[in-house]
Each structure stands twice: as C-alpha cells, then as structure tokens.
Subunit: 311 residues, 2 copies
DNA sequence: TATGGATACAACCATTGGTTGTGATCGGGC
DNA sequence: GCCCGATCACAACCAATGGTTGTATCCATA
C-alpha cells in the first residue's frame, strides 16, 4: 500500500469527486481514478460508488476513512521524528525498564502535547557524543564513569535514586525474607546477563562488588528479561538485581519475589544530561517537570559509587 | 512513502542486516539496499550505519523505528476494517453528536479490546438494508418511520431516550429561562438546518410540529454545527434543538444557553437495531453492555411520536 | 434532445523498482 | 600475514508500475 494512494483516497472522500481531488493533488482525474481502483483492488472491496455527479463513499469506504486519516497522521509523525530542526524531544535512557522510563511516562501524562522519542544508546560516552552533536536532546544516565568527568558544555542534574531490589524465585533461600542487608548477599550467586564491559552500568556493579565482596556473574548472552525471569524463577540458587521502580508485566504463576536491599541501600543515581546550548523548548519543560516532581535523592543510608556523585 | 519500504526498514532493523531481511521478504539483498536508500532519501537522514558485518540503526533510525512499527499496525487495522469476515464491529448512528455516540464511547471504555468502526447512513431505510446485507452490524435509530414497520429479521431494543434541549443565544427572549414548556415555544423561530425530507429524524420533528403547533425552519444548507452555533449565538430571535446528552466542545465566549424543555419533555428514542442472524461475537457483547448500562426510557412525562413506540 | 460535468477505458511513455553481476570492505581462521 | 567468507553498494538491464492524453459512456438538466 502506498501512502500517496491513501492520501488520494482521503482527498477524494473529502471532495466528493475525483476531479476536484485530482486538482488538489496536481494530477489528472484519470490518475486519481486509477489510484482509487488500485486501492480498491488492494483491500478487496469497493470504496466509492461512482455516479455521473461525483463519487460517494460506500459503507466500507466510510469505515476505512478514519483509518486512512490515522495512517496519514502517523506517517507525518514518523517523518517528523527524524526531521532536523523542530523535531520531537529525543531522550536517551538505559533500558525501557529503568526508572527513567517511569519519569518519562509521568512527563508524557503531564504534557501529552509534547512529542517524544526514546532511544537507547550504548553507554554514557555515546550519549555525551550524541548530546554534543545534537542527535539527542537529553539522556538519563549516571553522570560519569570513573575518572571521566563530564565535559564543560554538558549540564546535568540528579533526578532520581533508584533502589536496587533483589529478585529471587520461590525456592531461593532468601525467598521469604522481608529485606536483606548487603552483607547477607555475600556468598549468593547473583546473575546479571547483558552487563557489557565499558558501560557505566557495569562500572556501577563493579564498584558494588569491590566494596561489599559480592559475586556477580555477568556470563551468558542476554536473551531478554522474559528469559532471565524464567531462569530466576526456576533456579533456587540464583538471584538478580532489578530496579525498584520497575513496573514489570509480572508473569503469572512464577512466584517471583522482590526483596528490598538495605544497610546500606544501593541506589542507582539517575541524572538528566543535556547540552547547555540546546534551545529545544520542550527540554526546558522537561527540566521544569523533573525539578517539580523530583523524588528524594542522596538520602541517608543509601549507597552510590564515589565517581557517580557530582561535586 | 510506500509501506513495503517501511516494512523493509522494520525487517532490516530487527534482523540487524539487510541480507536476512531480504530473505524474509523474499527479495534480493540489493532490493533491500535500494529500498532503504530510497527511504533515507525520503526522510532526509541516514537510518542505518552499514558495516561489513551488517547494518545497525543510527540514532535517527532508533527514533524512527517505533513510528514505523505503529505505521504498519495502523495499516493492518485499516485493511482489517474492510475485510469481509472477521472485521471490526461496524455500527451506524445518526450523527457524531447524538447520544448513541456517548453510548459507544462508554462501550469502548468498557471493552477497549473490541475494534469498532462507526459509519453514518442516510436514514433508517438505508440502515435496515445495510444490516440485512451484512454491510453493518448494528444501528442506533428511532425504530421505524410512520407506517413502515421493522422487517421480521431485524431485531431492536430501546436503549436510550435523549431529551431535546433548546439552544439559544444570550440575547434571546428565553435566554434566562431555567426551563421552557413546549407550549411556550409556539411562536418562536426554531432553526434546524440539515433536516433532510424522508429521514426518520425529520419525521420526528414533523410530528412534534404537528402535535404542538411549533414553527421549525429547515431552510438553508447545513454548514456544520460550528456555523449553526455561531448563528444561534448572534441572532436574538433564533433557537435550535440539540440532544441533551451532547458533550459539545463548547465554543468559548459565545454565551450560548441550553434550556431543558418540559411538559411534556420531548425525547428522541434511540433503539439498537441488528440482524437476528448476525453471529458477530462483539454484537452480543454490545447488546449485553447496553442492557447492563441502560438508562431509563419510556419515563412518564416524556413525549415520543406514536410510530416510534415499539409494540 | 442537446449539453455539461462526471468517471472509466485505451494507448502510450517515462520512471520506478526488481534482478543479476560485480566490486569494496572488514573480521576471523588458518 | 594472508585468504576466505560474509556483508553492503554500485552498474546494467528489464519488466511493471503509474503517469499523461485522448475518448467513450453515463446521467441530470435545460
């Protein structure tokens, strides 16, 4: 199906005749007739009843019309999403399961008129480069990697500390614990597939391991969260970490348990990063929104790596 | 833009390489390469970075991807809307401003999983013919026209009485009335553009006029409700009728008043019509929903034309 | 009955979009 | 260090698509 054809259909439906639609589209009446005929062949039903006084929609045509309009709307938004200049606000985040996703959903609820696009870059290096090039407008990240300070032209503000929670299956030794201390985790196998060396996400866990003597296995390919959850549910000796803000589509019948970690409570510090010179108006709106709805961060009893604390 | 091209883009993005996408789509790798290049030319940005080991999305490509998927989803629904067989439930109603529209919105909220299409046919004759032919599944109408009983194979149930309200501008003599009786309306000019002879909607007003001695002017072309509202607001001697359930997008600053009509209260009786043999599962759901949420009808003190009361 | 305005069909042709064949580039294995 | 295999891009060719012009048909209206 060709969108020019759909556009022609909508124009003809609005005009009530092919000829006027043809004039609007700057083609001949015969071309419109052919396009409509092709569309009818494609969907398999007659969309117009032709009369010597014009063409009016059949019932099928009437039913199809709103869908056709929607199709054109979506197509326009699709093109707008990559148009340089006045394009939707483009935000990068770690994963769709991170707390940043929740923040952006809240922002979208508060400002449904602002068009958003979400991308996921590899690490903070790529994110910073993309922000500087203007390819993205903002990024939710831990502010920096060990020994790599943020460049001067990138601004950042800490927006949310996301507590880590332990995820275990029903047969796990800690399954019935109401909370666990970090010290209690020593000796347990914690599995985090998909941790890629060189990312700040991995640097975070490296620090956690180094400071508290945990064992985290990053082995094995990442087959997605569904597969991870399946394995965790079925393996009594395996646990994993998960962001505490995550609203999972909870698989039924798994018996998975989420257990808060305390003493200290490891939190992943999400900051918003943006370019100081970025003039996108929606960026200012986003910053204002985050400032207004900011949850507590830097609270006592929480732990973050040294390098992730902006000074 | 061509949807086959969009499909190709999504396939290539999923596969991570053109070759595999080409195999899926049963074309050559060169064809995929050309299509992607054409799409990139169309939107004006590079969507993939080509490597000797495949092709991965650029940031623009990442932003475009969900829009592309949405585009394909919408296209599929568009085609499904006219597919004979298992198509969305297709319902006919008088106008988008009638109470039937509100009922269908309620149904959609209660059953968002059921796909709906709304069409508007000319009159009940056309609606009955469409129901018998299977072109539509149900219709919200006054059950019959004077002297034209419903055919045996069409079932109907009264679902809502919609009270008529008087709509006047701020300078109208009745502007400050809290309610008016039908008798008080005699002598006032009531304007109803767009009343087409031969429809049951017009038959309703004919009966109202005949029984209570009102003057209703149906003259002039119907330029849509906006124009009607403008005229009513500006003309001190003109009023119009409007369904009491209507949730208008109320034009600001018009000072329009809605006044209930009493003694008796004229109501427009909406019934649901359907074919007894129609097996569409969503039709049963709709009937059950309407039965469960049915508002009162046939209440004392209301008026409907004789012929509109099913016996 | 002639006319004007509408769509459909036919013939023609430029352009599009597919295939095949080939070249360039990079990573991995030997 | 070199070659092989896998990838994508480019060129040439060709069929099919989709546009235009010209014409036929239909019907409401004067």
């Amino acid at each position: 199906m060709d969108l020019d054809t759909v556009r022609t259909f909508v124009a003809a439906a609005d005009a009530g005749q092919f000829q006027e639609a043809a004039a609007e589209l700057a083609v001949t009446q015969q071309a419109v007739s052919k396009r409509i005929a092709a569309l009818e062949r494609h969907v398999g039903v007659r969309l117009f009843t032709r009369t010597p006084r014009g063409a009016e929609l059949t019932i099928d045509g009437q039913a199809f019309l709103p869908h056709a309009r929607e199709l054109l709307r979506v197509a326009e938004r699709a093109v707008a999403s990559v148009r340089t200049g006045h394009r939707p606000l483009r935000v990068d985040m770690l994963t769709s399961r991170s707390a940043a996703s929740g923040l952006m959903r809240g922002f979208h609820r508060a400002h449904p008129e602002i068009d958003l696009d979400v991308v996921m870059l590899f690490d903070i290096e790529k994110a910073v480069a993309a922000i500087r090039s203007g390819a993205i407008d903002a990024s939710f990240r831990a502010v920096a990697m060990p020994g790599r300070p943020l460049p001067e032209d990138i601004a950042s503000v800490r927006v949310l500390d996301e507590p880590l929670q332990l995820l275990v299956g029903p047969a796990h030794a800690l399954a019935s614990a109401r909370s666990v201390t970090v010290a209690q985790l020593a000796g347990h196998r914690i599995w985090m597939p998909g941790l890629v060396p060189g990312t700040e996400w991995t640097a975070y866990y490296d620090d956690l391991v180094a400071e508290f003597g945990l064992t985290i296995e990053a082995t094995g390919p990442n087959f997605g969260s569904d597969a991870l959850l399946d394995t965790i549910a079925d393996t009594p000796t395996l646990a994993t970490f998960m962001g505490g803000q995550t609203r999972l589509v909870w698989p039924a019948g798994h018996g998975l348990r989420r257990i808060p970690v305390t003493d200290p409570m490891p939190v992943y510090p999400h900051s918003l990063l943006w370019h100081r010179d970025n003039p996108h108006p929606a960026l200012a709106t986003l910053r204002a929104h985050l400032a207004a709805t900011a949850a507590g961060h830097g609270a006592a009893g929480t732990w973050v790596p040294d390098w992730a604390i902006p000074r």
